[in-house]
Amino acid sequence: MTLEPADRVDSVPPSGIRRFFELAEEMDDIISLGVGEPDFSAPWAAREAAITSLERGQTSYTANKGKRELRTRISRFEDAVRDLSYDPDDQLLVTAGASEGLDLAFRALLNPGDKLAVAQPCYVSYVPGATFAGVDVVDVPTRVEDEFKLTREVLEASGAAEADALVYCYPNNPTGATMTGDELREVAAFCREHDLAVFADEIYADLTYEHDHTSIATLPGMAERTVVFNGFSKAFAMTGFRLGYAMGPEAAITAMNRVHQYTMLSAPTTAQHAAIEALDNCLDKVDEMTAQYDRRRNYVLSRFDEMGLDCFPAAGAFYAFPECPWDDADEFAEALLQSEKVAVVPGSAFGAGGDGHLRISYATGLNELKTAMNRIESFVS
């Protein structure tokens, strides 16, 4: 026996983002539009709650599902804001980031050999997560002509009807695409007709700029086949706290908790204290940050328009996804970094359908954003 990687691990290539990270790390004074997290720090009240909990010596494990005070607040918040109704005792699990929740769902709710339809381009962990769970992936590439929304047409064309479950993220990383309630109805109907479970990653749900977020679990006949994932990382700018949650039917949450209790035991305790404070007293900070992102979004989209770069009006998260002016987006991103010291990530790093595009994160201060846009403009012309 040697310590060689297992086959299913060996079969997963390193993240396409890694190469750009290494290139960027070697250079000084770059402006990075390649960051997938807020540039704000967590709200001070949440940080202070974390400090206070430490001073009080609250450093033990919590219940597997998370502190009840936190689950109750999450349940009330999701009900008030998104009309989602989940029992904090049986239908809600606090996880170490939404990422852990998705991993739990893949392992606890799918069998090896099952098929998972993955709407792409998407966050980099879905496909590897499925592979680690022994699950077969069905690529569902969304299209620029649909503004990267999931449609019945792309689901049918990709063979998703044969899949056991569908995973997607809207508002989307990397495209910034959002879906309205009406658009989701079409997806919901497809999933009911073909009996697919749905894993809805709603981590960016609070960051929408054109219309309110609709959760697919609120549509008729969907709550019983959907697990919703969310967390504190994006809206509350609490990425490093590593705190998320999953909501779904009792049987699904119980199964996910069975894996969670043996692997994670409980989500970070200090982070749970911060999250309670975030929900109690930091919602105004979320509004302030959202207003800032919206200004930056307007700025970036206007500049792309003036430069003649095609970019659909991304309406959520903090990403824009313009078409790359060169045929090879990887080559463009590398040249832009070398010559203008601006880091962006080529869309191909996010799976099928992302090719030929660039992910531009506007989670960066306006002054830097302006400089970066000037540099991109001079590079493109």
């Binding site: 990270f21 770059i30 990075s32 390649g34 960051v35 997938g36 206007s302």
Partner: protein
């Protein structure tokens, strides 16, 4: 939908945003931004644009002495707060003047090149005003934040330069 308030918020954040920048960040066109700013200036809502200066960062060359002064006044039938404020506000040494609630009436900020200059100004120009009954002067020893700008904020971005 953008509003005049958005323009004010943005200029409050950075008065050097150009008309073009403001148009890019809002739903307004450049000419609409120009009109709104002109209206706000004409109406006296925007009264000026100034740099926020950390004089200490300039070293000894830039040293400025600043004091906040608590003023108590006695009003009579002919004199109200506004009359007294008019007399004090006209001095260029006075950089801010506010009527406040609490133990004293006015809170003013005075700036000068030396402690001597500031002291003389208060004793020669402010204290002799007949309605003023008491002055308490506090010299500023260190400034950490002015007009929302944190002077010690190096704004280190400790995020990974590229992340998923």
């Amino acid at each position: 939908m953008s509003s005049r308030r958005d323009i004010l918020d943005l200029l409050g954040e950075n008065a050097r945003y150009t008309t073009e920048d403001l148009a890019h960040m809002t739903d307004f066109s450049e000419s609409e931004v120009e009109d709104i700013v002109a209206e706000l200036e004409d109406a006296g809502v925007i009264t000026g644009y100034q740099a926020v200066v950390n004089w200490n960062a300039l070293g000894t060359d830039g040293e400025r002495v600043r004091a906040t002064v608590e003023l108590n006044v006695a009003l009579d039938r002919e004199t109200n707060y506004g009359d007294i404020a008019d007399r004090i506000a006209k001095f260029p040494e006075v950089t801010s003047l506010r009527l406040v609630s609490g133990d004293y009436d006015f809170d003013l900020t005075v700036e000068g090149d030396s402690m001597r200059e500031v002291s003389h100004f208060i004793s020669d120009k402010v204290a002799p005003i007949p309605e003023i009954t008491q002055t308490v002067t506090h010299y500023v020893m260190e400034s950490y934040k002015e007009q929302g700008m944190n002077f010690d904020d190096h704004d280190d971005d400790d995020r990974l330069s590229v992340s998923p």
